[in-house]
Amino acid sequence: MMRMHVPLPKAQPWMLPVTIVCLALGMLVAFMLKVSAPKKFDPTTMTRDQLVALYADKVSAHEGLLAEYEKLREKYDRMVDSATTDQKLRAELQKAIDDLRVRAGSTAVTGPGIVAIIDDTKLAMESPADINANPLLTHDVDLLQVVNELRAAGAEAISINDQRVAGTSAIRCVGPAIKINDHPVSAPFVVRAIGKPDVLYGAINMPFGILDQLRQMSTRVEVSKREKLAIPAVAVLPSIEVGRPELTAPASSKGGE
């Protein structure tokens, strides 16, 4: 090795050209190895052994492709499955949201139900001033009892004089008027309730029930079943300011993947 360093300065002149040529030669050799030989496929000139080998090759390739097809097919099925599961889940969620919106009163509702018209008795107006008309009038408590009865009978949506009575609604006596959702309403009160008409009708006309009591006070009450009712949404839903939902996974949502 020591000898190699001695002739180096002397050999320098041929170093550069040889380097260039070697570069070119390396490329040429590499080119030769990169020849993609598209051999003409001619089974008629092949020997029996070659044909057998070719057949075995093709068979194994075919098996490989079949296995791949099977795998892809399975993957496709799984994806379709999960997609339909997603769709089902989404439909379920949408249903749950719709139900909750009906309960919360954030949406208008249509459906069968009953209409009850409760009017103050004419006696109250005709009565002389010395008679205490107070027991003859319809009060907030009466309406609350009506609402309570309807809810107990499974009413899904209730409105009084087009004011939706939702979970957040208050029915209060404010001087001569009754305020529902902070909106004054007065007689005649038209109570609409969506639910099973027969059940609602039966419940609200219960003997010694609220309507029975009102009738005994000579209040005019008319109840009728309806095929189709429309109940509006709560105009302004109060925002949740201090309460925080304690989220727990509902058991039914485990149905997904």
Binding site: V18, A24, L25, L28, A30, M32, V35, A37
Partner: protein, 127 residues
């Protein structure tokens, strides 16, 4: 000494490693003839170095022009439908390679043998 070998490896890798570069079979024989011509030039260059009349210009021009002309001749012969053109060109080049290789061999063997003799004489003196 190592620079040309490095260049050889670099040139080889530059073409061999990228997957995109491929050569169709029809051009393979041209490359083959060019490679043989290139080898001929290199062997010739080694001989001229030994003889002490090496010229880098002649070497480089010889390498490229020989390779090019070999491929061109092959093309011409194929165009004229002459058979075994590649074989003829390769034979001519290989004969030159063997000639030059023989010269180099004789020179190298002579030097090694001479040295060996000298060292042998020194290590095995007559009893």
């Amino acid at each position: 000494m190592w620079l040309p070998i490095l260049a050889l490896i670099v040139g080889f890798c530059a073409i061999y490693l990228p997957n995109k570069i491929t050569l169709s079979a029809e051009y393979a024989q041209y490359v083959g003839v060019a490679v043989v011509a290139g080898f001929d030039s290199i062997i010739g260059a080694i001989r001229s170095v030994i003889e002490g009349k090496f010229s880098d210009r002649i070497f480089v021009s010889g390498f490229f022009i020989n390779a090019l002309v070999a491929a061109l001749l092959l093309y011409l012969g194929t165009a004229l439908k002459i058979q075994y053109v590649a074989l003829a060109i390769t034979a001519a080049l290989v004969i030159r390679i063997f000639n030059n290789l023989g010269f180099i061999r004789r020179y190298v063997v002579a030097r090694l043998f001479e040295k060996h003799l000298i060292s042998g004489e020194k290590s095995f003196p007559e009893p």
